[in-house]
Symmetry: C2
Subunit: 460 residues, 2 copies
């Protein structure tokens, strides 16, 4: 991880002269129409391979190169591509910096980054500096300065980045977004969401083989436990805010007529990960991980305020036994939706004044059916085979289509900066006992004139 | 409403010497066993009459006196008592101060106060000064000083007060409390609750007749809209925290091994009450209430932290169309319960690690049945006819039984002060843009040695 100062230096030194950049179009609109996108992949681990599987279904994408220092993961990805009968990409596996050689290739139109959180910033900004539009996997930011530097890198290079928040395309959430836009909930007031996902079995493995039961983590451990778990040791905050915040930010027109102004966070005591280790140490044995002190509170609650007077409550709940559920609630002056399932239309409860029986909950299902988004009507069948219930199809589809058509990404660097900022700000708030933190306006006032763009057509 | 200074003066002037009071028992334990409690009622409006109806079922209570300046409400109560064939109580209806004459009666063992929120403090402390143990209806505090003064009045007089939070006795919540105490949720981490009750039709009437449709409120308007609605004009905070906080405080042993240390609150914009007025003005007419600016945000979210490392999120949501639901969530290291109904065992979702099918929600019903509280087993049938699904039976039963048996109330002045303090502190937090507020320790350290007392037996 680079230090703050180095990171800023890096941006300053490699900056293209940025005068008047704020009114220039992004690099995409200058590229003209393409029929095929030649992609470079940075990191092809667990998440990267899900993207590869999806990309292999597409006739408008060619994977020309991939970079990952993990040769096991590289071999798995190669096998995936080979099995699909596609041309094998060039490989960059010589250590952590070999991705820079991938970025030098003229035949890479854009890059898809699925690396560990702590590498997102470097990989993303280096790609932008190399003139490669970026699709960046989600995560929380590491520092507030990093969030500012993403924006600066974009404003200096005009090379766009799309934050690949697939939950924005969840079918029920897109139908709810439709309903919000039609005014069926009246004026929005209060929204909730959370990353409520028991990640305990994903934060540990047996130390040598991915996706095995175990209590090992840390450097040298393969796959997710090799990097992700250390964040739970070092940090206390909402480490993964975007699956819940992303769709809610779309509904609230954040950075496009609205903005997040302030937050505060609190955390419970930390019990779940230690308890998991203790419960899984073989009887009679000792284990060094029994002594690890996890800093991450089991449940982190973050309360956001917006310029337009709405409030949002986000929950981060990844260390406790529970069914998966993102806990969405969307409430306006005319009704509300709240869910407790995994994205099915029938999950949860809905109430619309006038339409619902007086003061009785209804199943959301008929309302969501009636407001199904046109993207899902057009691409639903195609999406069904994709990862995460179809969401992965749509997020990659939007990324690829925008590059092909020379259109601005529907989720951009300002969304990335704002959503990422929740994490370091929540850490600061918790470290200060729950003190209020102001959320910077990364658009520098442009939120007042920027218009909503997400999900406005049936193409992407 | 008295000013702060006057209130403090009042307490100082009427104080009994308080040296060493902290170790003295409360007045109740000195009274010995009674077979009958002679009650004085202060305020017999909408809520007071529900209590009267319940008290008339009891053979161990005699209503000897009642005070209310509202002669309409007094007449209704008289009719209720008369219809039950009970002896009519003495009446004190000569203005707002006539209740003081009720307090002078030697034949009043205790008083039950069901007055408007803004009179709770005066009515309660005057009763304590007169040596009458108090059952005080719920509400939020008006000022933080008032909360301190309740405690001071108790510590000086040793006359106890019970906060009549009926939700503590809701059948599902008592079963959950049992489950918490048995450790079925593991160590508690995060709790949620809220007053989520569309009160719009209760905040207005036609200006002359209680419980009629209309858009009138304020002085001169009968019943609840005559006093309660003005709080929504003047104040922005969680005005009514105890229905949700009370049961959660019991589960968390607040003031009995734990305490609330800090809170912060945010509010949405205020839309619902104005919208309700506008939607109900007869077509083509104008109405002065169209110009009223309501200060109360439609949805107020308050986040609490405890000394033992749990967090609580409270919601106040009374101005929007929605089904009634207190939105409880009780989560520990071994599982969670969350509900979205009105208190039925089958409402909501439950997950217990090990007991539930892996990562699948269950109906709470079998678990709540298996952990039904012994009080409900003994008195459930008797309670069923009482108000609010039986809760009103239990809260009055506990109040009366403690007086009869000379036992400490299970909810006391420290609970009253702590729960009431949430309201003024949330107002201050919101006024400061969401800034953190420290919650005073009203027990002055005694929370560390005080033991849980609520619901520990099957008598009360």
């Amino acid at each position: 991880m680079q230090s703050e100062v180095n990171r800023r230096e890096f941006i300053r030194n490699s900056a293209i002269a940025g005068i008047g950049m704020a009114v220039l179009p992004s690099a995409l609109s200058a590229t003209g129409m393409k029929t095929k996108v030649r992609l470079g992949l940075i990191a092809v681990g667990r998440r990267g391979q899900v993207h590869v599987a999806e990309l292999l279904n597409r006739t408008d994408v060619e994977i020309v190169a991939m970079a990952d220092p993990d040769t096991q993961m590289m071999a798995k990805t190669r096998a995936l591509i080979s099995a699909a009968g596609k041309k094998l990409p060039a490989e960059y596996a010589k250590g952590n910096d070999d991705y820079r050689n991938l970025l030098k290739r003229d035949d890479v139109d854009a890059v898809l980054i699925s690396s560990p959180w702590e590498l997102h910033f470097e990989h993303c900004v280096e790609s932008m500096r190399a003139g490669k539009p970026v699709g960046l996997e989600v995560g929380g930011g590491l520092t507030l300065q990093e969030c500012r530097d993403y924006v600066q890198a974009y404003e200096q290079t005009r090379v766009p980045v799309m934050i690949l928040e697939n939950a924005c395309y969840r079918r029920d959430l897109m139908a709810i977004t439709n309903m919000v836009r039609k005014g069926l909930f009246g004026e929005l007031l209060h929204l909730q969401g959370g990353y409520q996902h028991d990640m305990r079995a994903r934060k540990f493995n047996n130390g040598t083989v991915p996706d095995t039961p175990g209590i090992e983590f840390g450097p040298g451990t393969p796959s997710t436990p090799g990097w992700r778990t250390q964040h739970s040791v070092n940090r206390n905050g909402d480490l993964y805010p975007t699956h819940s915040l992303g769709p809610l930010a779309v509904m609230l027109d954040i950075n496009r007529g609205n903005r997040i102004t302030a937050l505060s966070s609190v955390a419970t005591k930390s019990r779940g990960l230690h308890r998991y280790i203790m419960n899984n140490i073989p009887a009679g044995q000792k284990h060094r991980n029994a002594d690890v002190q996890f800093k991450l509170g089991d449940i982190v609650t973050t309360t956001l305020q917006t310029a337009n007077g709405e409030t949002i409550v986000l929950t981060h709940d990844t260390s406790s036994p529970r069914p998966y559920n993102l806990g969405f609630r969307v409430q306006g002056t005319a009704g509300l939706w709240q869910e407790s399932g995994g994205g099915e239309f029938a999950d949860g409860l809905l109430y619309l004044e006038g339409a619902s029986p007086a003061k009785k909950w209804e199943s959301p299902s008929p309302h969501l059916q009636a407001n199904d988004h046109s993207l899902w009507k057009v691409f639903g069948r195609q999406a069904e085979s994709a990862g995460h219930g179809g969401m992965d199809f749509f997020i990659l589809h939007a990324f690829i289509e925008c590059i092909k058509q020379g259109k601005d990404f529907p989720l951009d660097v300002y969304d990335l900066a704002t959503w990422h900022a929740i994490t370091p700000l929540s850490e600061t708030s918790i470290a200060q006992g729950g003190q209020l933190q102001l959320v910077p306006d990364f658009t520098n006032g442009a939120w007042q004139r920027r218009k909503p763009v997400f999900g406005l057509n049936s193409e992407y």
